[in-house]
């Protein structure tokens, strides 16, 4: 195909498009502490430590660099990191599409805008996670692959891709999927490829050495998200995610790929994500893109398509092959983040298809000139929608939840948490913000576990003055002093169930010796509930403006605090009763929660707040849920 003359307005127009997207992300970023893993990642960055397996050392170090920026707060600065890398990823998409569409610049802009405003890409850009950096490395490898096809096999490209694959192990292991398409590409240049293997391997290990961060920082007893009391996992256990048992990297790949079971679901779920992000109609252009690349270069097609398959169907088979259409956890924790490289590649094919289509209607001059503009305008329409429905610029919910939990605890008490949102949020607030650092924070990794992570009670030399009991793993004394609080309510499967009882207090539970809850204890907790209501911040669960289901989940916990407060007030004249007998479920938790409230003038306000927060944070509002 002939190269179309480049219009002089295209370059400034491209720059404007990037500026619009950068500002769009910048003003959508979470102001301090995003939900999910972000709290742990920010804490690990600030303390130059190791986040949850596989540790993400590359993220920690780049995040540390961003903490040196002299504006905003540490959480916000680290969140700028994925924002910055997202813009770079878009630039790479721009370059790849430019290469594939005969250097005609309007089509790369279409790709950039479609991807830049797509739900998942936008979502991952603004919540402080590592997926945009992972996508950048994958696209760099794709770009190198195309360069190899363009220029013939040059050893330096083999070395560079091996090095980048090694570096990528300092992030999310999924980037290693690029080994397969690169290997297939190497087969076309078999002899040169085989000759380059020894040095490629060396460069892979040089890149891989980025993981020495985990080993050395572990030696120094720096922050380690998965350290349990008296038990430090080995370097390899962290790296191979052995902590997650069945989710361990190698086992997850080998067991799930050894059968076809769930493959149908994997395809269905992945297509659902494509529809949610780009709409099924774009699949027409995706297919046209395949056809166009088939005609242009079969090697490029094979390389790009195998890359796409690895990050779509193969990855979906490993991580996304259950019945999950209405499961917010799977949709958001897997679908919304793991497939970012697949979405980048999808957009590349799709734009190649648009280019092919537009070139085919060259004779229809009006369409030929206006159709590309039409494809540019379509994604722009989504910007206000994303900003108002998904943007995180006013999402202080997790920060205030974490801060409020700590604020309602007595000085030098002990707090036990379970679950990413609760634990990581409090890590950030206490270890980075040093808010209420008198509280000793213990984390468990399973609901029924009693072996704590004690990163929130370090250094031992100082904390031992206040809580010698904690270091003896003895909580009875603390419970007698009313100093043991937990976000975990007890059920039959919990080992503490036989020894202790709990009463819900504000945002947590307070523990008592079994069978010792008398009217005096109830009055004590009621008094605490009423007295500490001042410190809870309901407003940020009523105006966070995002559809993030993990924010909804945080806010639903906040709403329960208002039930606890309302139940502590006995109205003089009751005009209704509210009863709730349910089980709170998240992860492998199932906490029984029973409450009966007499509603009157005195506690009506809190019941109203409960209802409002529940309504505002209804899970159905999450965009990806059908």
């Amino acid at each position: 195909m002939k190269q179309q003359a480049e219009s002089p307005v295209i370059i400034p127009f491209s720059i404007i498009a990037f500026i619009i997207l950068f500002l769009f992300y910048l003003f959508s970023l979470n102001p301090i502490l995003p939900t999910g893993d972000a709290g742990g990642l920010i804490t690990a960055s600030y303390l130059l430590g190791t986040a949850h397996p596989p540790g993400y050392p590359l993220y920690s170090e780049l995040g540390k660099l961003f903490t040196f920026l002299p504006f905003g707060n540490i959480g916000y600065r680290v969140s700028l990191l994925p924002c910055f890398f997202s813009v770079l990823t878009l630039f790479l998409v721009y370059l790849i599409v430019r290469k594939l569409t005969e250097k005609n610049s309007i089509f790369p802009i279409i790709a950039v805008l479609f991807l830049g405003v797509s739900y998942s890409f936008y979502f991952q850009t603004i919540i402080g996670k590592f997926y945009p950096i992972n996508a950048l490395i994958v696209l760099l490898l794709v770009f190198i692959g195309i360069k190899v096809i363009d220029s013939g096999f040059e050893k330096r490209y083999a070395y560079l891709s091996s090095f980048l694959l090694g570096v990528s192990t300092g992030l999310h292991h999924t980037a290693l999927f690029m080994t397969i398409p690169l290997f297939i590409l190497g087969l076309f240049y078999f002899k040169a490829f085989v000759r380059s293997l020894p040095l490629s391997l060396l460069f892979f290990f040089i890149g891989f050495s980025v993981n020495l961060h985990v080993y050395i920082r572990n030696l120094k007893d720096a922050f380690l998200a998965v350290r349990k009391a008296g038990e430090t996992p080995s370097f390899l256990d962290i790296l191979l995610r052995k902590f997650y048992k069945e989710g361990e990297s190698l086992q997850a790949v080998t067991t799930t790929l050894s059968t076809f079971e769930g493959f149908h679901n994997a395809i269905k779920n992945f297509l659902y994500m494509i529809d949610a992000n780009f709409g099924y109609v774009t699949a027409v252009f995706f297919i046209l893109g395949l056809f166009y690349l088939y005609r242009k270069s079969r090697r490029v097609l094979l390389f790009l398509f195998v890359s796409f398959l690895m990050f779509s169907l193969v990855l979906a088979k490993i991580t996304f092959s259950g019945e999950i259409r209405d499961n917010e956890g799977s949709l958001y924790i897997v679908g919304n983040q793991y497939f970012i490289p697949a979405f980048c590649l999808y957009v590349i094919f799709m734009t190649a298809g648009i280019y092919f289509f537009v070139e085919k209607i060259k004779k229809m001059k009006l369409f030929y000139k206006t159709l590309p503009l039409f494809f540019i305008v379509i994604p722009l329409i989504f910007i206000p929608m994303r900003f108002s429905q998904t943007g995180q610029s006013n999402n202080w919910a997790l920060y205030y939840y974490s801060k409020d939990v700590l604020s309602t605890l007595p000085v030098s008490s002990v707090l036990n948490t379970y679950g990413d949102n609760k634990s990581f949020g409090i890590w950030y607030t206490k270890l980075v913000g040093r808010y209420r650092d008198d509280v000793c924070h213990l984390v468990v990794f399973r609901y029924e576990a009693t072996q704590w992570n004690m990163e929130g009670c370090k250094p031992e030399t100082i904390y031992k003055n206040f809580y010698p009991e904690v270091y003896r793993n003895d909580i009875v004394e603390l419970i007698n002093k009313r100093l043991y609080y937990s976000t975990i309510g007890l059920s039959e499967i919990h080992p503490y169930f036989e020894s202790f009882d709990t009463l819900p207090y504000s945002l947590v539970y307070i523990y008592f010796p079994k069978g010792k809850i008398t009217e005096k204890e109830r009055k004590f907790v009621n008094g605490l509930n009423i007295n500490n209501e001042r410190f809870i911040t309901p407003s940020y669960c009523l105006n966070h403006g995002t559809d993030d289901p993990l924010t909804f989940s945080v806010c639903r916990f906040v709403s329960i605090a208002y039930l606890n407060i309302a139940s502590s007030i006995e109205p003089e004249k009751k005009f209704g009763t509210f009863a709730l007998d349910t089980t709170i479920r998240y992860g492998n938790t199932h906490e029984p929660f029973r409450v009966k409230i007499n509603i009157g003038k005195e506690n009506e306000y809190y019941m109203d707040l409960y209802e409002k927060i529940r309504r505002y944070n209804a899970r159905e509002k999450a965009f990806l849920l059908p």
């Binding site: 950068f22 916000y76 460069f203 801060k403």
Partner: protein, 212 residues
Amino acid sequence: MPEKKLSYYLKPILLLLIFAVTALLTRQFFYQLKHMNEADASSGIEKIKAFERVILNHFPLSPYTKNAVDKILIECEGLSKTDEKLYCYETLRSSLIQIKSFYQPYEDTIKKINPKIAELRAESMISWEYNNLTKKDFERIYTAQLALLNYNNAPSQLWSAVTVFSLIGWISTIIFLIMKGFTKNQNRRYIVTGILIYLVFFLLWLCGLYFA
């Protein structure tokens, strides 16, 4: 096509950098103003939280940050209940710690309020009836709390900077070494220089990780 020199890219990169910094500062200014207005319209604990958000959106030389710090201090002084006073000082201290970059803004304020926080924590511990503590224990608890408040849990700033910059250094060097050294005609000069620079950065990186 002849290879373009670095200076060719320098001007647009510089312009983009200036644009990015301006955009970031505008954002900070916009949000500080927003939260300052919220603070003016609220009272009590909510006012303290609004000032906290002003500080958390800090940018260098911002008049709003100084204003918010001064006003929180006045609010804290004006509170009579121990728990509210503690909340107020802890909020101020935490928000200032969170805006620490390569330097700690308002370090004097933190030093000034740490003893007050230690005092309030000690008082709270004594007043918690289940602790069985008396006023005689005050000094001991106060000293322990002050030690905790003065403890710095962050890694050394200098060694952290050495770590991250040498990481960028050795990664860039390897890329440079591969791209310049392993061309069709291997360039030994680039390879040898690259390996030497890489080793320096890599050793610095290991030292940084260990000593930070």
